[in-house]
Symmetry: C2
């Protein structure tokens, strides 16, 4: 049923996700940027090393570079004596040559001089004079050193296309001498707020009006997850105006989010516009989730479009469950479904929570520690919309096939 | 022992953390910024609402606004008939007055007209004509509505000082009409790279040289966790030069990180400089952790200073375990230790891992899914430093009092 339209019934969360994950998307564009700006960006190319690294035999200890064969049999009671030929300087080529019976003092990271194949740590030596050292323990060939190509071999793939660059990956790029990379352009996500009652936050409220919460919430969520959010403003609940704004948004967006249409009239406009502006149009228009049931999912040619409910809590739930998986696809990231996309914590619920079979309930909770255990306190009721937004630490899910959770049950809390 | 200096032995991870969490810090500075820029910033003031919200009785359903008493006893078989006096428009004051026996059509979010105290959903009505509606189910006073001050009361604290603003918190601020907030200034963290062998990533390597990995890693980690990273460059391993750069960094930083001093000589410089530039100086100079043992922790007057090991993997471990808890304090965030500060996942280890008692081992792992279970594959050996950096998905910890983990044991993986 992946690309079919489901209009006769509410789809399940699983069905909606499958539809979303099967959506064909526009080819992603790339841009070339310096690594300093590439933190958390997604590679659009495989990265190869141009050279062997470290490129020279390198000591991993402070001590003496030796020919290991000279140390065989050395012990505290029967030390081996080696002549000190010189000292290796950090960051400099090792210009001395060590013959059998000789050694060179070497710092961690220093280059092994010719004729040596191992390093004896200071701890296993006694310095007898400027020119002589006692070796108290044997070293094997290669001990306490890194070989020329042991870190990276020339031609080796270091990072793959689709990888999200973490701080230490940028460090690794610097390490192999790469200062610019090709990454996917960030997907542009337009936010259209609808509703004749919605006013900008700076305005005083007249009776009947509420301020725009959803654009501010979505703006942060989109940017936080690798997109570029573009606010298209608060649009009057009028078919022709909304249609024109959606059409404009389609020109410069990888995804369009329309929030606010909870009332029947607006929902009808939004569905009609999605259907009219391109195929296949609306793919589903209700989901068995609470909050978030009135979610409309669609595709206008190659651009995914969501009609999000007007309720701010439902917006967060719909974002996390439906918009985010798609946004991550749009970023070009190679995700692995078995790795969590947010912080989670286990806690016990403080109240019984019932939930009808056939609906997936998402319940906001506050986390408290009591006598060393974590408890998840459900934030219930219609009341205090804004208060419940700010009070919650995370969300728990009562699955579709469950009739509820009992007090004391352990649950996974997805943290905000 | 909180502020004492421990120089005679390596401190445990727990001791090091306690020292770090007890450090006195400079008073944090604030700045006033628009909410559009306040995502993930830390509030430096309590936020109060100036007004009741929604500020009017608001419908939570599409239906008819009624006087609830008129509906008592209504049923499918014995409906109540009400005269429709008009329709409430979204975003407009409800200008009609409803008398007993009357109703007004109302959309979700609409303002209840005078004389009404509840809303009957469309589903429980039958429209008989333009002027008449059948009510099939009673509603209680307050049903399907939000009261004037039910969302937020004027004077109520909505968000507390020290709170990290999440996307929906910014939405809530917009909702109560707040467009600017006071937040703590981001702490400035200076990064000083030492080592005569270190060259910038753009440079070709001569024998004996390696490129600067650590500044790039730390730069990303600091910015990602709410700090402002400032790179002070790659500094030659010379006491007087390093001392001058640290001194300069102290002037404009809330924390100073010196990386690279793994060799004995450099470590001695770093310790001496931390001791000389202000009291109390070095607080500990070895920790029973692997990797990361040569970590130096200190305080120069009111500025925390770390001497981080030169090994890039040790840098990440030391950052996560010691620098990050301090950085979070410096941001002014009210953290709760029982909530995880990163994504985690449970997995089984694929190999036995031994670890000496008395040392906390941090082992990088790759996660794979095999037959539906997650496995953590340890990335071992000195080899492939850069490769192991990029291959790891996260880190597992073998606690100080454990002698190891066995193949098949379940572990918590802290994901990068």
């Amino acid at each position: 049923m992946s690309q079919e339209t489901v209009k006769d019934r509410a789809v399940t969360v699983e069905e909606a996700r499958k539809i979303i994950l099967d959506l064909p998307l526009k080819t992603l564009q790339s841009e070339r940027i310096p690594i300093e700006e590439a933190y958390h960006r997604i590679l659009s190319e495989d990265i190869y090393s141009q050279e062997n690294l470290p490129g020279f035999k390198r000591s991993t200890m402070d001590g003496y570079a030796v020919c290991s064969a000279d140390t065989f049999g050395a012990s505290e009671s029967l030390p081996v004596y080696l002549n000190i030929k010189g000292t290796i300087k950090m960051g400099m080529p090792a210009e001395i040559k060590i013959n059998r019976g000789e050694a060179a003092e070497i710092p961690t990271g220093g280059m092994l001089p010719e004729g040596t194949d191992a390093v004896v740590m200071y701890e296993h030596t006694t310095r007898i004079s400027d020119a002589l050292v006692e070796i108290l323990k044997p070293v094997a060939p290669g001990e306490n050193i890194v070989m020329e190509d042991e870190d990276v071999r020339a031609g080796q793939v270091v990072l793959r296309k689709g990888h999200r660059l973490r701080a230490h990956d940028i460090g690794a790029l610097a390490g192999i001498g790469i200062t610019e990379v090709n990454v996917y352009k960030k997907p542009v996500v337009s936010i259209i707020s609808t509703g004749d009652e919605i006013v900008p936050p700076a305005e005083p409220l007249s009776p009947g009006q509420v301020r725009d919460i959803n654009s501010y919430n979505l703006y942060g969520l989109i940017n936080q997850h690798g997109g570029v959010a573009v606010k298209k403003g608060i649009i009057r609940d009028e078919y022709s105006i909304l249609r024109r704004v959606v059409e404009e948004a389609l020109n410069d967006s990888n995804m369009v989010l329309i929030t606010g249409g909870s009332s029947v009239g607006t929902r009808d406009y939004v569905s009609r516009i999605i259907d009219e502006l391109g195929a296949p149009g609306v793919l589903f228009h209700r989901v068995t989730i609470k909050p978030g049931k009135p979610l409309i999912g669609g595709r206008i040619n190659n651009t995914p479009v969501f009609g999000l409910p007007g309720h701010p809590v439902a917006v967060t739930v719909c974002f996390d469950n439906f918009v985010l998986p798609l946004l991550r696809r749009l970023t070009g990231e190679n995700t692995r479904a078995y790795l969590p996309d947010s912080r989670t914590v286990k806690a016990r619920v403080t109240h019984n929570l019932s939930s009808p079979i056939g609906r997936e309930d998402h319940v906001r909770v506050k986390i408290e520690q009591r006598n060393g255990s974590l408890w998840a306190i459900p934030i219930l009721g219609k009341s205090g919309l804004i208060t419940t937004l700010v009070e919650a630490d995370g969300i728990i899910v009562i699955p579709q096939h469950s009739s509820g959770i009992y007090e004391g049950d352990e649950v996974d809390v997805r943290l905000f």
